[in-house]
């Protein structure tokens, strides 16, 4: 076989030899193209896409891992605006702190939200990653806080409803208000994500005293546990006002501390749901008598007036008022009591829809003017009613139940807020890409997220 002489250049065991020789001299052989002319040599100018960053470790191909070279990585530039406020007490928050982040002190965060319950899942991760819990002071929460300051508490409790499209921070506004009321020394009843109680039902049993209703022992115990941590200080002095018979043998006498009821529920899951009802009733009574100020915070209040996934023994679906937990909660959002406030949020997420309502699962719809044209339902704006408003989410029954209420719209970020948020993310190293630190990168992030808070956080994830 005849071999062209030109191709004979390196035909021995050259590669390993060259490699060892070069690495002995401390030269990086990786970018050296050994051997004859190859196609990749032609490709160099346009194939030069490799980004050569600082290497993490030395080149020498030793089998044991070498220590990282001490080479500092590029750090983000110092931020330009004031994005963080040192005022950590929401009682002192005003319009001058608007669009700035405040830190919830870690111990308060742990007592208010034991095991992060009630926080959006992305925010939970963020708290873990940033090792701090920061919430932006935004207009809707400031608005509700100023209402709470000025309200007359000898009148029936006023209901506030946060509403807005998905991912605008309704829950975090609710948590901000909750922190405010805790700081004021109110008793706080926080019901996070009520849709979990009608949707992710783990176990049901017929109620002890009313066979028409169904108890959810596991959910009730979980709630009682968090309530015990978060409200331990504020309900220390409260006592039961009557005797409660849990079953044949067990009872709580009149004049016992209310915490005993909580303990009872945690120890005996069968009675836990009734314990929640008793706590709700007691606190409502005590607020009526003016002994305490009561804040009822319900996240996803529309789930109280909708369908559930629970099937009754006769194979028909149970309605939300047939579950004891939601039944008690419905009594709480009724404004037949005074000495407190009800702050709620309506949510599209996790909502199962109203009774008898047919859900539109179509992906395409006919255009109104040209019936021959099919539209993607997301593009066809007039085909979709505004689904995030309280009237749409509460339905007829819920609206009549909740009326009158104060709707508070939670909107997307404004220009000032998104600048502050980007600065915060840069400061916390969440935005890592060098290109995001430039003006063009910031513009692109704003464009991609469309000023939506949750989307902005999500888009910055892999950057």
């Amino acid at each position: 076989m005849e071999i062209l002489p030109r191709l004979h250049l390196f035909k021995m065991a050259a590669p390993m030899k060259i490699f060892r020789e070069l690495s002995r001299k401390g030269f990086d052989p990786r970018h050296v193209n050994h051997g004859p002319i190859t196609r990749s040599m032609f490709c160099q100018p346009c194939g030069k896409q490799t980004v050569h960053y600082a290497r993490a470790s030395s080149v020498a191909a030793s089998t044991e891992p070498s220590a990282q070279t001490r080479e500092p990585v590029p750090q983000p530039p110092p931020v330009r605006s004031i994005f963080r406020t040192p005022v950590s007490n929401p009682v002192n928050h005003g319009l001058e702190q608007e669009a700035q982040f405040y830190t919830i002190p870690p111990d308060e965060y742990k007592t208010m939200f034991p095991q992060d319950h009630g926080m959006p899942s992305r925010f939970k991760k963020q708290v873990d990653t940033f090792t701090e819990a920061c919430i932006m002071v935004r207009k809707p929460s400031l608005e509700v806080m100023s209402y709470l300051q000025q309200a007359n508490y000898s009148h029936p409790a006023i209901r506030y409803v946060f509403y807005g499209i998905r991912g605008t921070g309704k829950t975090l506004c609710l948590c901000h208000v909750l922190h405010y009321c805790t700081k004021q020394g109110w008793v706080v009843l926080f019901f996070p994500k009520v849709s979990n109680w009608v949707k992710n039902v783990k176990e049901i049993q017929p109620s002890f005293h009313n066979p028409e209703r169904y108890d959810q022992p596991l959910e009730a115990v979980a709630w009682l546990k968090t309530f015990k941590v978060s409200a331990a200080d504020s309900i220390k002095e409260l006592q039961t006002q009557q005797k409660y018979q849990w079953n044949k043998r067990e009872a709580t006498e009149q004049g016992r501390p209310l915490l005993e009821v909580v303990e009872q529920g945690i120890a005996r899951p069968k009675t836990a749901t009734d314990c929640v009802g008793v706590i709700v009733k007691e606190l409502k009574d005590q607020a009526n008598q003016g002994r305490i100020r009561l804040l009822v915070a319900v996240d996803g209040v529309n789930s109280l007036f909708g369908r559930t996934v629970v099937r009754k023994p006769d194979r028909s679906m149970a309605y939300a008022s047939e579950l004891s937990l939601t039944y008690n909660l419905r009594k709480l959002v009724r404004n037949d009591w005074r000495g407190g406030a009800i702050v709620t949020a309506v949510k599209e997420a996790g909502f199962l829809g109203m009774e008898g309502e047919k859900k539109d699962h179509r992906r395409y719809t006919r255009h109104e003017d040209h019936p021959d044209i099919y539209h993607d339902i997301l593009d066809h704006v007039s085909a979709r009613p505004q689904t995030f408003t309280p009237e749409a989410l509460l339905g007829k029954e819920g609206f009549e139940y909740m009326d009158p209420y104060v709707p508070v719209l939670v909107e997307k970020y404004t220009e000032k807020e998104i600048e502050s948020c980007l600065d915060y993310y840069t400061d916390r190293m969440w935005i890592q890409n060098e290109k995001c630190w430039t003006e063009a990168g910031r513009q692109q992030l704003k464009f991609l997220s469309g000023y939506e808070p949750a989307d902005l956080e999500r888009i910055c994830g892999p950057l």
Binding site: P15, M16, F42, Q432
Partner: protein, 243 residues
């Protein structure tokens, strides 16, 4: 980045009714790196179609109307091309290797999730570190990715050659493309058949593999050393190399 080559410029004055692609087998194109012969058997575009230009600055400039370039239709851009400033060709290439059955959106979301896991891991480390350690902790997932892939690239490979009825593994230099291909696909293969952590998601396993390779540790880097050893053991067959 200009997606097209010189071909569409030089042939601008081609008659519109040229020979159809069906009767040609090869096309001589002149990209930047020299002459090349490209197959046209499976090309769906007519020869008059222009290459798309993926460059925002190109379109910011006013259009020059000379010749008939603006009258010719344009091929559709590839899904791997993007004008985003957050676009990294290496990451896109890796996404294509992760992809199965053409589900690029899914593959992309998986890779992005893996990047996010890496970043969360590093950021947490950063915030918990003492202040003098902080500037040395790298949190940029793209930079970690590039370093990890660079650490996995083999320097020499082997090629099987048949001589006298026997197959020899002959050590050979590798092209840059081949090195990148090996590094990325070892990374994916190691992640796919990770037996230590079977119930974990692909993204999570990928992130841990990338972080290991970033520190020149782990299975993928060991695979690279194995190949080096094989090439070293077979250096006696070097003379079989005729290419």
């Amino acid at each position: 980045m200009l997606a097209g080559g010189l071909w569409d410029r030089s042939n601008m004055a081609l008659p519109m009714c040229g020979k159809t692609a069906s009767c040609r087998l090869f096309m001589v194109s002149a990209p930047r790196w020299g002459l090349a012969v490209e197959q046209v058997r499976t090309v769906v575009w007519h020869e008059t179609y222009q290459e798309p230009v993926v460059d925002k600055e190109y379109f910011r400039k006013p259009e020059e109307i000379d010749g008939l370039a603006h009258t010719r239709p344009v091929k559709s851009a590839l899904p791997t091309q993007s004008t985003s400033i957050f676009h990294y060709p290496e990451v896109t290439k890796f996404t294509s290797y992760v992809m199965k059955k053409g589900e690029r959106a899914l593959a992309r979301s998986i890779v992005e999730k893996a990047f996010e896991h890496m970043k969360r891991h590093q950021i947490k480390k950063y915030h918990e570190a003492p202040p003098e350690e902080k500037p040395y902790i790298d949190c940029n997932p793209v930079r970690i990715f590039h370093t990890a892939i660079e650490n996995c690239k083999p320097v020499v490979g082997v090629q099987s050659v048949k001589r006298g009825g026997k197959t020899y593994q002959v050590p050979t230099p590798l092209t840059d493309k081949r090195r990148r291909f090996l590094a990325m696909n070892w990374m994916i293969a190691e992640t796919r058949d990770n037996r230590d952590w079977p119930s974990q998601s692909f993204a999570k396993k990928l992130s841990s593999n990338l972080l290991e390779a970033y520190q020149e540790q782990g299975k993928v880097v060991r695979k690279k050393y194995d190949l080096h050893k094989l090439a070293d053991a077979n250096k006696a067959y070097g003379h079989f190399r005729f290419w």
